[in-house]
């Protein structure tokens, strides 16, 4: 394997390099990788690519621009590290008023739900007429948590016009049948000055 003009006959696997960078390897494996890296510039160049990807992912994860299911600890940590987190926590069946400010860093919906028996849960975002805007299939769920926490893209929310979106948590069984676990309506009012990104 050739990287940056140098080659390695026994390259470290990409996944192992990532685990090394994330400090997830057992110490004996880590020692072996470090011995190799101290003699191998090809794998060193590959590690630089891993670092670059890792740093870009960290920046992206911290940007609040992704729509993703996260944990309570994640949200708390974001607030503790100085991010301005706007959070809405509707009860099942509740319709709430919401907005986003220009200086918000993260937008989070905490959807209260009992998940003790569900194996697969989808989160469906629908427009008022029932048209599905986005489906997040087979989201990770913590049965004991009592809620699903979804980070909505702050970039999208800041560009959004005044609008209503309904979140539906759906249990999906093996045959594809859906059972509604909870429905939550967000009446978003645009308060950021200037025109929205779309009408």
């Amino acid at each position: 394997m050739d990287h940056g003009g140098v080659s390695c006959s026994n390259p470290v696997e990409a996944a192992t390099l990532m685990d090394y960078w994330l400090a997830l390897l057992p110490s004996t494996d880590e020692d072996a990788i470090e011995e190799h890296l101290m003699t191998c510039d090809a794998c060193g160049n590959r590690l630089r690519q891993v670092i670059s990807l890792s740093e870009s992912l960290r920046t992206l994860a911290r940007s609040g621009s992704l729509t993703v299911v996260v944990s309570d600890r994640f949200v708390k940590h974001a607030a503790e590290t100085g991010l301005r987190v706007r959070e809405y926590a509707p009860a099942r069946g509740e319709s709430i008023q919401c907005t986003v400010a220009a200086d918000d860093d993260m937008l989070v919906a905490r959807l209260a739900v009992g998940l003790t028996t569900a194996s697969r849960v989808d989160l469906s975002w629908c427009e008022p007429r029932g048209v599905e805007h986005q489906r997040m299939a087979d989201i990770p769920i913590d049965a004991g948590a009592g809620s699903v926490i979804c980070q909505q893209s702050i970039t999208w929310a800041k560009a959004s016009p005044t609008m209503t979106l309904t979140a539906r948590l759906l249990e999906v069984n093996e045959t594809g049948e859906e059972h509604l676990l909870g429905e939550y309506t967000f009446n978003h009012t645009r308060t950021i000055p200037g025109p929205p990104g779309w009408e």
């Binding site: 990532m18 994330l22 890296l37 990807l53 992704l66 996260v70």
Partner: protein, 179 residues
């Protein structure tokens, strides 16, 4: 002339006072030490400090012919890295006098850092499955351990590892990054 020499060939030359061999050793080892520093110190400036301090110690040892087995140069450098990182963690005291004397000569040119298209990366991350995206975001946001991520998402630690590896492979494919 020195580029083709092995690490083992460099050590005795440095002991004989060959400054070109010293320069070649620094050119070769500097970027490797810096990677070690980035991994363990998580800071570019701290990694640069580590490079200087380790090279100072290694040069001192080689000039004094204290490295008995010259083919162990890389191992010796790694051992010195580990020792200096422990020292750095124990105290923020820097070897300023030594660095003032030798520092300028001991900073290797930083190896070019590959750059990624951030927009493309965001698009690629959005194509991941929900569990994969959650694991990736929580892993990289503040470097959650697999155990923390597993607890948070109600899945096993082994599953977190499998999901993370699969997601990273997919992201590399999506970005066209060959490793």
């Amino acid at each position: 002339m020195y580029v083709g020499l092995s690490d083992a060939d460099l050590a005795p030359r440095i002991a004989d006072g060959d400054s070109e061999a010293e320069a070649e050793m620094c050119r070769r080892m500097g970027p490797r030490i810096r990677l070690y520093g980035l991994r363990h110190l998580r800071s570019s400036s701290a990694a640069d400090d580590l490079v200087q301090q380790v090279l100072l110690k290694v040069i001192e040892a080689l000039r004094a012919a204290r490295l008995r087995e010259s083919d162990k140069l890389a191992h010796f450098v790694l051992g010195t890295c580990r020792m200096v990182v422990v020292e750095l963690r124990r105290s923020s005291h820097r070897q300023e006098a030594l660095l003032a004397k030798f520092g300028g000569d001991l900073i290797p040119e930083a190896s070019p850092t590959p750059t990624l298209d951030d927009r493309q990366l965001a698009r690629c991350v959005q194509t991941l499955k929900e569990r994969e995206r959650s694991v990736v975001v929580m892993t990289f946001y503040d470097e959650h351990t697999a155990a923390e991520t597993a607890r948070s998402l109600g899945i096993s630690e082994a599953n977190v590892r499998v999901i993370r590896h699969r997601a990273m492979a997919q992201l590399r494919d999506c970005l066209g990054v060959t490793l």
